[in-house]
Symmetry: C2
Subunit: 218 residues, 2 copies
DNA sequence: CATAAATATGAATATCAATTCATTAAATCT
DNA sequence: AGATTTAATGAATTGATATTCATATTTATG
């Protein structure tokens, strides 16, 4: 081994310039692939999306994807992580500019709506992973899911026409809200001791109250 | 072929009795397999549950499952369909015994809680497929999901201590509720024209109002 | 009890798609 | 320009598991 092989005198600017060029190239490729993956995951869901699919959309060969991402999973996570961070940064910024909890809440809601309007592919990925309302889920396509929804909606509509529930929101949405409140309670009730000890009637009462009267302090 | 092979004179009762016996046997096996499948799907989720797993749990051989169910998918759907129908029947019955929308709503909530308390395996299957709060989802395990949740909870807690939001419910639950209201609105906003035309600020206002004041008619 | 019919078995097969890697092409350097 | 390094390709490999089916076992029948 001679002294040159230790590379003691590589000019700093050149080395970093070439590093930058390489890095820039990497980032461009990654961005291409992420863009394609976002679309394919949004349309097909994680399991039915194939790497070939994604590569084709990005106009690369299958193997190329693996030059930029560890595997399918980490590609998926890159998307989610990047997008959620983006959202959190926006929220932090905008909420920071407002005083008072009420105003912060307003901004919070508004900015989330804005974000998902601009990131519709990501919204689909997000709800596929995270939400009960997905149209394309295994279940949602089935008759039984529709039957359930119809039943719930009918109940809400009856309550609306009896004047118990406000009419300025869709019955379908209201039933989604009720369902999600119930599910969130069942979860907590299993996770935490405090709720596990209360009895069903009491929990049902709390849910009813939250649902009808909201979370505002009285 | 002789005339006997046409089976023209099989006594009716015997034939139907043997059919019944066979049918009873089928139903018992199906029930065994469904019970096992319910458990395995609940613990591992649809994709990671294998037929072998399920067969083993039911104490049958792999192939036996296919004598009673078309394939993995239809086994899965049998469970969901059976259980949702069971729930709907209970709800129909109980709601039918009560007059008035408010009372019906109370019964509705209570019976769903009761049902899921008795069917915890099914609850897991249901939320794996359908809900945002699943602990074991691909996403929930990740740091970014936790980061998001922490951020949301902090906001709610601040609002609670400022007296804007009631303190008698967990901040985590309240943030789940808010999130689900927002997502349900985005969904409808894409599905239907009516909402698509309204602007973001207006939708944000409706969400805020629903969230704070609930669905009760004023 | 012997024979036939119905059930169950689980190893072998089929399928599907993630991942690898030998080869080719492009970019960079001397 | 030729040599060398870096990047891209996509067919072949691997792995995982759903599904089948020839064989064995159990149950019913005469």
């Amino acid at each position: 081994m001679n002294i040159n092989s230790l590379n003691l005198e590589i000019p700093q600017e050149l080395a970093s310039a070439s590093l930058d060029r390489k890095e820039r190239h990497r980032l461009l490729r990654k961005a291409d692939i992420i863009r394609a993956a976002q679309h394919v995951f949004a349309v097909k869901g994680f399991h039915k999306a194939t790497i070939q699919d994604i590569a084709l959309h990005a106009q690369y060969a299958t193997g190329t994807v693996y030059l930029y991402f560890e595997d399918k999973n980490s590609l998926y996570f890159s998307i989610v992580e990047e997008k959620i961070n983006e959202l959190l940064n926006i929220l932090r910024l905008k909420i920071g500019q407002v005083k008072g909890a009420r105003g912060k809440l307003e901004v919070f809601i508004y900015e989330i709506l804005r974000f998902f309007e601009k990131n519709q592919d990501f919204f689909r990925i997000f709800v596929q992973e995270e939400s009960p309302w997905l149209i394309k889920s295994r279940l949602a396509k089935s008759t039984i899911a529709q039957k359930r929804k119809d039943f719930f909606i009918e109940l809400i509509k009856a309550a609306q026409s009896e004047g118990v529930i406000r009419k300025d929101a869709e019955a379908g949405q209201i039933s989604d809200i009720l369902e999600s409140i119930i599910i969130s309670f069942i979860f907590n009730w299993w996770e935490e001791k405090t709720l596990r000890e209360k009895d069903l009637k009491e929990i049902a009462g709390i849910i009813m109250d939250l649902f009808l009267s909201g979370v505002k302090k009285k």
